[in-house]
């Protein structure tokens, strides 16, 4: 067997490389850096239909990620979905009359929430509710509507 010193060096190298690999997996492969919202504040929004929105989905403004969805619940009185989201503390000046809509990235991509700024001088703060919302586009409803409209056009086959 080799002497103690070089053995310890090899084991040290091995452990360091292993931890480095874990670090690379967490930061480079995984989303440890982007997932966490730093000292954020929480706002809510009610939607008629959230479609395929999932917890941890992005909340964006002008395409830039400003937070993430932390919970999707159901309001028993209004029969609406309640989406709670954490907005990063860096984005403190979002007008309180901003509107939230559920959008899809690409044709088959994940759904996310897009915020459109309003004109108010008052800004969103912890516990606020975004009032103007636009639901997710449900493809089946859209197709149904197109077929319905075509059937009602004058001159269509009865």
């Amino acid at each position: 067997m080799m002497n103690r010193k070089s053995l310890e060096v090899w084991v040290g190298l091995f452990v360091a490389a292993g931890i480095l690999a874990l670090g690379m997996l967490a930061f480079k492969v995984g989303n440890l850096t982007t997932a966490d919202v730093v000292d954020g504040y929480r706002v809510r929004a009610n939607f008629d239909n959230v479609g395929g929105l999932k917890v941890k989905a992005a909340v964006t403004m002008a395409g830039v990620r400003v937070g993430r969805v932390t919970g999707i619940g159901f309001d028993n009185n209004k029969y609406q979905a309640v989406v709670t989201m954490d907005i990063d503390g860096k984005f403190k000046i979002i007008p309180e009359d901003s509107s939230a809509s559920i959008l899809t990235s690409g044709l088959l991509g994940d759904q996310y929430i897009g915020l459109e700024p309003g004109g108010s001088e008052l800004y969103l703060k912890d516990g606020d509710v975004i009032r103007t919302t636009q639901s997710a586009l449900v493809l089946e409803k859209l197709v149904g509507q197109v077929i319905f409209d075509r059937a009602n056009e004058p001159g269509s086959v009865k």
Binding site: M1, R4, L7, E8, W10, V11, L13, F14, V15, A17, G18, I19, A21, L22, M24, L25, A26, K28, V29, G30, N31, L32, T34, A35, K56, L108, D110
Partner: protein
């Protein structure tokens, strides 16, 4: 009647063996505390089972990643989503292939060596000799090897996954012309550090415990002859591989079930 009796004896024997193995594991774990004072014994074993297994792990990880890149690209390009190649490679490696293939290689390379070493120590009465000198062979010989395996396995699995992702990058971006930015950004969007990476780490820790446990127990329990050591080594590889594949299904079902 005799087949019935044979069945009964098989069941009784395997339950008895399982019981002995569990008591042995308890003894090893309680014996491990004393090793904190003599940690160099564990370091030696980390070298034997970890550093010496490194080469085969790195080479197989690189090639598994490269094959995943090629194979995944050919499938994804049919759906026009070759940009998701990074996600496919990373998820398959981190969640499944990393821990499982590492554990299988670990059982073949390190587990069999552990069993053969301990079995031979038993056959040449070195373990009995230690006991005569009032040295507990479980804390002196078995526990360091067990702990070495438990420490080395997650690190090896992490290295396997990391080098596999680089191999996928090499083939996907270097050879097949997938956009490097899309490769990494899709990967980072889709791989969650808690759901995917932590799960892979938990899996590899469980596999490390199971493979090391089987290896040291088979060695310690071997019939002290050359044939006995040979069949014990054989059993280590077969049982560890079966245990790893079976446990992998259970762990995946448990963690994917609630998503």
């Amino acid at each position: 009647m005799s087949t019935l009796r044979a069945l009964g004896s098989i069941v009784i024997n395997s339950v008895e063996r399982l019981g002995r193995a569990s008591m042995f594991l308890y003894e090893v774990i309680t014996g491990s505390w004393e090793l904190l004072r003599r940690f160099y014994l564990v370091v030696q074993q980390v070298y034997a089972v970890g550093v010496l297994t490194l080469l085969i792990i790195l080479v197989s990880g690189l090639f598994v990643g490269m094959v995943l890149g090629l194979q995944g690209y050919n499938t994804l390009v049919k759906f026009g989503s070759a940009n998701s190649l990074g996600l496919l490679v990373a998820l398959s490696l981190v969640r499944e292939l990393g821990p499982v293939v590492t554990a299988l290689l670990f059982a073949g390379r390190a587990g069999s060596a552990l069993t053969a070493e301990i079995g031979l120590m038993k056959a040449t009465e070195q373990l009995a000799g230690m006991e005569m000198m009032a040295v507990n062979p479980v804390t002196r010989v078995i526990a360091p090897r067990f702990l070495g395996g438990v420490i080395a396995m997650p690190l090896l699995a992490a290295l396997f996954s990391a080098i596999g992702v680089l191999g996928g990058h090499l083939v996907g971006v270097g050879l097949l012309g997938v956009d490097a930015g899309a490769f990494w950004s899709q990967m980072q969007n889709g791989v969650d550090y808690r759901d995917d990476i932590l799960n892979g780490v938990i899996k590899s820790v469980v596999f490390g415990v199971v493979v090391s446990w089987i290896a040291v127990f088979e060695g310690y329990d071997a019939v002290p002859t050359s044939e006995g050591v040979a069949s014990a080594t054989n059993r280590t590889v077969v049982y560890s591989s079966l245990a790893v594949l079976g446990l992998d299904f259970i762990l995946t079902a448990l963690t994917l079930g609630d998503v």
